[in-house]
């Protein structure tokens, strides 16, 4: 195995790793907020809201992420490019980048997948705890913030760790729309040095290390007690 190309491309690879981590953090952050909204929407008594969030998560989870990225980047992108006002606008340099389309697509899919996970967690919180909170005179927002959500998150923590690793793997799709993330950087090395295996294997190891870091940091947040609450 020949790694002499590593010196010439180390900046690209490091920048690619940075972009991957950025994509991961941005879509995890915004996606989590969206996921809470989706989960609450699905549990709501309002029929319109419940059905809208059910449709959202069903459509997002029923179609490939790659197709969603293409719809946003090529489809919506080409429609946006048709408007001279947007094309000449201040935001156009951002709207032309694949990065933000991928970030949006990942945010939507985190919202749908994690929304379902959170919904099951929220439903699993014992009723007595919520009633106790209400008996203390907490308002609905306070109950959600202080009791309902923290208890639900505690229960679904192992699943969330798995979803985070899935998200890390999904960020690799950014390379298909010309974003030089980790895999995109490897593809650049591949096309310029005509080596196939070394860059891909190196990047694979980096993904494994990132996945291990995610799992370790979720473990560091403490253990989920398996004791059943009566």
């Amino acid at each position: 195995m020949d790694l002499s190309w590593l010196n010439n491309f180390s900046t690209e690879l490091l920048r690619g790793a940075g972009l991957t981590v950025q994509l991961l953090l941005i879509s995890a952050g915004f996606g989590f907020v969206l996921a809470i909204a989706v989960a609450l929407g699905r549990l709501s008594n309002n029929v319109v809201l419940a059905n809208a969030s059910r449709c959202f998560s069903s459509v997002i989870r029923g179609t490939p992420l790659l197709v969603q990225i293409y719809i946003l980047y090529y489809g919506v992108g080409s429609v946006l490019a048709g408007f001279p006002l947007i094309r000449g606008g201040v935001l156009w340099p951002y709207l032309r980048e694949g990065f933000w389309y991928v970030a949006l697509a990942l945010t939507l899919s985190v919202g749908a997948y994690v929304g379902e996970v959170l919904r099951s967690g929220l439903r699993a919180v014992p009723k007595g705890e919520l009633e106790a909170a209400r008996a203390y005179g907490m308002r609905r927002g306070q109950i959600l913030r202080r009791v309902w959500l923290p208890r639900a998150l505690q229960m679904v923590r192992p699943t969330l760790a798995g979803e985070s690793v899935m998200l890390l793997k999904s960020t690799a799709l950014a390379s298909t729309v010309a974003v030089t993330d980790l895999l995109g950087a490897a593809n650049i090395v591949r096309s310029q040095t005509l080596r196939v295996y070394e860059p891909l294997l190196l990047v694979a190891i980096t993904y494994i290390v990132l996945a291990l870091i995610i799992e370790k940091s979720f473990k560091a947040m403490g253990t989920t007690s398996q004791r059943r609450v009566q």
């Binding site: 459509v59 989870r61 029923g62 179609t63 490939p64 992420l65 790659l66 197709v67 969603q68 293409y70 719809i71 090529y74 489809g75 919506v76 992108g77 080409s78 429609v79 690793v165 890390l168 793997k169 999904s170 960020t171 690799a172 799709l173 390379s175 298909t176 895999l183 196939v196 295996y197 891909l200 294997l201 990047v203 694979a204 993904y207 494994i208 996945a211 291990l212």
Partner: protein, 237 residues
């Protein structure tokens, strides 16, 4: 763009046929990869449960690594490694290098990735079988192969079906990734249509609709299976 424009594009110009052909190919590679993944998964599960220690280590390595690396990267790696190995083998036998059959390559690559996931599902399901059933089979003097085919495999199915249906849905969606190595499945068909007509939004939305219909129908079918199995399951397990 009006409805008549859209129907003109889809039906009069025949693009809907291209998409349907792509969808059939997508279903074909998904079914093939699912079957291959089940075989690999079963071997991996048995290796993990009954195998000698080195085999357990190998199986653990396979399932952990393949679940931590992005599928897109695995598909690229396996595709290039597979074609290179095949051509090396052909060269060693003194034959000219061959063009890899896209369908087989897609099935093998997706099947290997799928095997890592289904191995875990099947292992969990086998562990969930009440031990009394296996002991009863052994008490009847069944050989290991008979125990496997008559007791372990049928009894594990109800426990595995939910996980396997999830994996099937993931697989159908992952099959879109095959388009990056150029096999003409549903997404590639949509990309051709979009590039030729310049109606990107329309055709990618149409592709998404095809995938959505496939996943909706297959989750309905799996739900039917599941409720069929549930009738025979003891309630208190």
């Amino acid at each position: 763009m009006t409805i008549s424009d859209i129907s003109n594009l889809l039906f009069a110009e025949g693009w809907v046929q291209t998409l349907v052909q792509g969808a059939v190919k997508t279903l074909g590679i998904s079914l093939g990869a699912f079957a291959l993944g089940l075989c690999i998964g079963l071997l991996v599960a048995l290796a993990k449960l009954r195998g000698p220690r080195w085999l357990v280590a190998c199986a653990n390595c396979y399932t952990t690594l393949y679940r931590a690396v992005p599928e897109l990267l695995l598909i690229l790696l396996l595709y290039y490694a597979g074609t290179d190995l095949l051509n090396l083998a052909m060269a060693a036998m003194g034959r000219p290098s061959v063009e890899v059959n896209g369908f087989m390559a897609a099935v093998v690559v997706l099947g290997i990735v799928q095997g890592a996931y289904s191995g875990e599902v099947i292992r969990g399901a086998i562990e969930a079988i009440p031990p009394g059933l296996v002991e009863a089979g052994r008490a009847y003097g069944m050989s290991r192969a008979k125990l496997l085919s008559r007791i372990i495999l049928p009894c594990m199915l109800p426990f595995a079906i939910a996980g396997l249906s999830n994996l099937w849905l993931v697989l159908v969606k992952d099959s879109a990734l095959i388009s990056v190595v150029g096999y003409s499945e549903l997404l590639t068909a949509g990309r051709q249509a979009a590039a030729t007509t310049k109606h990107y939004l329309l055709f990618y939305l149409a592709v998404a609709a095809f995938y959505y219909v496939i996943t909706l129908i297959s989750s309905m079918v799996f739900r039917k299976f599941e409720s069929g199995f549930e009738r025979w399951m003891p309630r208190n397990v």
